[in-house]
Amino acid sequence: MSSLIINTSLVRRILIGFLQDEIWKVGAKKAVLGLSGGIDSALVCHLAAEALGPENVSAICMPYKTSNPESEAHARLVAEASGVQYCVIPITSMVDAYFDQFPDANAMRRGNKMARERMTILFDHSALNGALVLGTSNKTELLLGYGTLYGDMASALNPIGDLYKSQVWQLSAEVGVPQPVIDKQPSADLWAGQTDEEELGFTYREVDELLYRMVDQRATTDELVATGFAREFVDTVYAKVQNSHFKRRLPVIAKVSGRTIDRDFRYSRDWGK
């Protein structure tokens, strides 16, 4: 019996409270997020609409010319289902203007640039509307480092960063994310036909079971192998978590003074709130 099964009504309540409390106490009322057409941003969009009222949530779809047209259709479906403010801002001209200077750039560089281009648009709309940027990375992606640093990993608040992909699926059904968005194959949508699971080399369900035992239950490699996971799979995933840890931390600061930020200068982010 997997403990990836969550009490969805309880988690929903905690996350709604989280969004309200953390946004309202800094004096904001609004939130902005990127809507990709995928399930993670769809879930965050529904949660934000419920927490803040749909009129206080701006969802922006930011397609590139190679994005699957179905993604934009799904983003629109989510915006309509949740009732939030919705607009489409294509990023093709900005991204292409840059890569005209670097025509040989590989897919990774292009994908990262697109993610960061979207980030700058979201933070610009944050300033425009006095809205906080909501993150949409789930725990699986964050642990594997399957995201772009300062791109899709950048946000003010992330309501779903402690939920594995398998749990995102469960909660999405609870909050009313449209079924086609729940049912479709997860994809970063950087090129036609791309799927996360093909690129990662394993399924989310497999890796979520492993990560849950490895991270949450602190199982040793020997225990994991004894439970039936292939040692090579365990080692691969462990290495991914380790090697992507820099993405989950602030930049390293060289210590020279007696009180260095984040080392011996420690305050909660909600300091004074």
Binding site: S3, L4, I5, I6, N7, L10, V11, R13, I14, G17, F18, D21, E22, K25, L157, F265, R266, Y267, S268, R269, D270, W271, G272, K273
Partner: protein
């Protein structure tokens, strides 16, 4: 005597003493208006929980105007409240104060400072060194701060010292989402209820609400009668003022039905603990 307890399940602001003092004052005044005999606030109600380097900035001396204000409020209602204490020699404690009749009647410094998982208290705070019951107009009381309650010896010592009511001030982060109710809520209710039964004591548990850096405090404050039954409960995750009542007849009945404390063998416990301590230190 029978007495009513107001569980003041508040949402403090992190590091904002004056704001929190105003909030606490308003809540206590409401409890007075409701004719409650005792008002209990959460752990670190005056300061918020994840203080880190804010500890020295929000710490109060026992003669501070803030505590004097709370003492004045206690002319109309007995009051238990959590704050950061600083001593004249600059030691900092996670303390709980009991005010009654216009005075500070008892001070408990949290003994067990959790420093594991999401907790880091001992990095910033000093450890208390005693558990002492004290007399109030409701009989003898034992004060505990959150993690203290998880150490069996703490409520045991207070009950041995004659406490008939244990009052636990808490800032408990909610976690555990794979069961019918919140994992932490189940754990705490099991703990307070079992403690009440083992010691045939009343238990008052007051937890805060609100979020700090994404951590949600789950509320769920409650009263437990000496039989272990929860007799009043505040909602989870929402600020509330919940009033419940303890009846002396319940304590009397439970202590007649289950004379566990009468039969407790203090000398045996002391003898065995001494032996264990000697054997461990060899």
């Amino acid at each position: 005597m029978d007495f009513s307890v107001a569980l003041l399940q508040i949402k403090p602001k992190l590091g904002r003493i004056q704001d929190n003092l105003e909030l606490i004052t308003a809540q206590v005044e409401q409890a007075i208006a409701c004719k409650a005999d005792l008002a209990v606030l959460p752990e670190l109600a005056l300061t918020g929980y994840f203080l880190k380097d804010l500890v020295p900035e929000v710490a109060l001396t026992l003669d501070s105007p803030e505590l004097a204000h709370l003492a004045r409020l206690s002319q109309q209602i007995s009051l238990a409240v959590g704050f950061v204490e600083v001593t004249p020699d600059y030691q900092f404690y996670n303390s709980a104060a009991w005010f009654e009749g216009g005075q500070l009647r008892h001070l408990h410094r949290k003994v067990y400072l959790p420093t594991y998982g999401l907790f880091d208290e001992q990095r910033y705070l000093g450890r208390g060194d005693r558990f002492r019951a004290f007399d109030t107009r409701f009989g003898r009381i034992g004060l505990l701060v959150c993690e203290d309650m998880w150490h069996l010896s703490a409520p045991y010592l207070l009950a041995m010292d004659g406490a008939t009511t244990l009052v636990c001030l808490s800032s408990s982060p909610g976690r555990g989402m794979d069961t019918d109710e919140l994992g932490t809520a189940t754990a705490w209710r099991t703990l307070t209820s079992s403690t009440a039964r083992f010691l045939t004591c009343r238990v008052v548990y007051v937890n805060r609400v609100g979020y700090e850096d994404g951590v949600g405090f789950w509320g769920g404050s409650h009263l437990v009668s000496p039989s272990g039954a929860i007799s009043a409960a505040a909602p989870e995750f929402e600020p509330s003022l919940t009033i419940g009542r303890f009846h002396d007849a319940d304590l009397r009945r439970e202590r007649i039905n289950a004379p566990l404390l009468r039969d407790e063998r203090l000398n045996l416990t002391l003898r065995e603990l001494s032996r264990i301590e000697q054997e461990r230190s060899r």
